[in-house]
């Protein structure tokens, strides 16, 4: 529909400013603005890409010069790597399951029935971003019961809290783009139970939100150092920092790969799932 496309065009302020007649001298500010934006994005991209490239180069460089991919094959056999990977994977799975089980029903319910509680949720889920991890890790160890303190799964329990900001924001945005109330009422009036409604109607519509929340949780578990270190468990980040390997380049390489893998997976998810974004644009 023409009116829809119109909306998309207007969303770009530089177009609104476009003066009439291509020959008009007023065209200049638009050009300058485009250049300015390009320059900003290039400098920013450089700041984010160059260190990454440097890390890659450092870890794949032969002492004699030139590059080799042998460090990649050495990762698996590096002492301690396998057990660190296994621990981090376990923690990631547990954290994801628990945080989803806790947050999905709660956030849906709040959207439907307790809109006033959204404010509270928003504040609560901001706290983990700013709480000093070093202080928090000690607080957790001091207050946890003995049996839990000796368990590696204590980390998963704590990571659930740390993942909340990202999971909440993802779900909140996903639900905001849906007309949850109407969907639920329609499903309920057709005779579906609550659980059925969540599972068959809401979760499929939240697919993109849930997937990006999972990937962010994964990234968190594979990147968190402070608490794991204080708690003395050798997860991947702790291993990267502490492990005595013959070749320190391998550690950097693992760090690079972890970052690259999460970024690629997340970008794939958002670019493959086009339906979701189109829906949200139309409803906006």
């Amino acid at each position: 529909m023409a009116s829809l496309e119109l909306g998309a065009e207007i969303a770009d302020p530089s177009q609104i400013d476009a003066p009439y007649g291509a020959e008009a001298p007023l065209n200049k500010p638009q050009r300058r603005f485009r250049w300015g934006r390009g320059a900003i994005l290039i400098v920013t991209a450089a700041y984010f890409v160059v260190p990454f490239y440097a890390g890659m180069e450092y870890s794949l460089q032969r002492p004699t010069g030139g590059f080799s991919l042998t460090p990649l094959s050495q990762i698996a056999s590096a002492p301690g790597f396998a057990s660190a990977l296994w621990l981090s994977t376990q923690l990631a799975v547990i954290t994801m399951v628990v945080v989803m089980a806790l947050m999905v029903p709660t956030v849906i319910y709040v959207h439907l029935r307790l809109p006033r509680f959204r404010r509270v949720m928003e504040v609560i889920t901001i706290l983990p971003i700013i709480i000093p991890p070093i202080a928090y890790s000690v607080g957790v160890l001091e207050s946890a019961p003995q049996w839990l303190r000796n368990s590696q799964y204590l980390l998963a329990i704590v990571y659930v809290i740390l993942a909340m900001p990202y999971v909440y924001r993802s779900l909140d945005a996903g639900l905001g783009a849906l007309d949850v109330k109407t969907l639920v009422e329609a499903s309920r009036s057709l005779g579906s139970s609550w659980l059925m409604t969540i599972w068959r109607v809401l979760v499929p519509n939240l697919r993109a939100a849930l997937m990006s929340a999972s990937v962010l949780t994964l990234a968190l578990v594979f990147g968190e150092f402070t608490i794991a270190n204080v708690d003395n468990w050798q997860t991947i980040p702790v291993w990267i920092y502490l492990a005595p390997t013959d070749n320190p380049r391998i550690n950097t390489l693992v760090a690079m790969i972890a970052l690259l893998a999460t970024a690629v997976v997340l970008i794939l998810i958002v670019s493959l799932d086009r339906s979701q974004s189109r829906n949200s644009r139309r409803s906006a």
Partner: protein, 367 residues
């Protein structure tokens, strides 16, 4: 459709000052990729006139308004305001007041500052701005709400502030882009009358975009029906209703039944009666034809051996609308409610046409 008659006041007849400017859309074309939003669109608007652009979504009415406002650039064609070509003038220099569909008030300013914004831009003195803003807020009936912020105002109040803001700059043309569509029915009807009253009092040339035909018919001096980027018909509401120029207008404005007919010279035969073809005979297509008949142009009478059967009835107040199945077609006819008692569903009836002339169109597959 019932309120058509009350908008027959001649343009600007009872107004002393004529501040509005004439507006001409001259052969405008605007494409968005593959879709043509405006297709050689031309329209003349007289000073002080309120013209409604009416049509289904995607018909180009919003694009026409935005081209006039200066937010869209036409691919070809001109816009004349006050006989001057403004096609290359930037929106900010066109001096047109615009009211948007919704939520266009600046959220960081109260009602007064919103209304005074355009005057601020024009470097008017603060005291002058405040006085003018207060006066305009009075005009739209919000004199007591000058210091309220948009989020403290209802939807209807927000749109009235937006109207006052658009009027504050004493625009040459007032542009209304579906300003009532986000409001509920009661507020919409109130605001409709209020906008019309203010527009007539100030005699300001106004272009009003809507997809609601009742709104267009009740407010506008003339209604311009558009479809697929071009103008179908522009006429007063009464003419538009009684003499649609094209089959599209006949279908889109009001209710019509389509009846298969055969042509005999300048007449067609409908339900056993010869009726004159309306309009230009050379424009009548060849092949299968259908006549478009308004419900009030059909007479229904009980007859146990009649060809028609009542298929449904709905009470509309003074009239009752009945569906009549005749020869495979389902026609809609209006009957005075006091005479409709016998017309139960299943009753056999005679149907006849009582119009002087009818609009004829090429036959369409049943929809």
């Amino acid at each position: 459709m019932t309120s058509v008659t009350d908008v027959s006041t001649p343009v600007g007849a009872d107004v002393h000052t004529l501040s509005g400017a004439p507006v001409v859309f001259d052969n405008l074309t605007r494409r968005f990729g593959a879709t043509t939003a405006l297709d050689r669109f031309s329209l003349n608007i007289a000073p002080g006139e309120l013209v409604a652009l009416l049509g289904p979504s995607g018909c180009g009415k919003t694009t026409a308004l935005r081209v006039l406002a200066g937010f869209e650039r036409p691919d070809s064609g001109r816009i004349l305001v006050d006989e001057k070509d403004v096609s290359t003038v930037a929106a900010q220099h066109r001096n047109m007041g615009m009211v948007f569909q919704s939520y266009s008030l600046f959220p960081n300013m109260n009602a007064r500052d919103n209304v005074a914004f355009g005057l601020h831009i024009r470097h008017q003195r603060s005291s002058q701005r405040r006085a003018k803003a207060a006066e305009l807020l009075d005009l739209v009936g919000l004199g007591e709400h000058v210091s309220k912020y948009p989020h403290q105002l209802s939807g209807g109040q927000q749109q009235r502030v937006a109207l006052a803001r658009a009027l504050a700059i004493e625009p040459r043309v007032l542009l209304l882009d579906e300003p009532l569509s986000a409001l509920d029915a009661k507020v919409r009807a109130e605001l409709r009358d209020q906008i019309r009253a203010i527009q007539q009092r100030l005699a300001i040339t106004t272009v009003f975009v809507t997809h609601d035909q009742e709104e267009a018919m009740s407010m506008a001096d003339r209604v311009c029906v558009m479809s697929r980027g071009h103008l179908e018909q522009v006429a007063t509401p009464a003419v538009l209703y009684s003499q649609p120029a094209t089959p599209f207008v006949g279908q889109f404005v009001g209710v019509s039944s389509r009846i298969s007919v055969t042509r005999r010279g300048d007449h067609v035969e409908i339900l056993g009666r010869e009726v004159k073809i309306r309009g230009d005979l050379s424009a009548v297509p060849t092949g299968e034809l259908e006549a478009l008949v308004r419900p009030e142009d059909l007479d229904v009478a009980v007859n146990p051996t009649g060809l028609g059967v009542i298929t449904h009835r709905s009470f509309l107040g003074a009239t009752t609308r009945v569906g009549v199945g005749v020869a495979g077609a389902n026609l809609r006819a209006d009957v005075r409610s006091s005479l409709a008692d016998d017309l139960d569903v299943g009753t056999r009836v005679d149907v006849s046409v009582n119009a002087r002339d009818v609009l004829v169109a090429a036959s369409q597959p049943a929809s």
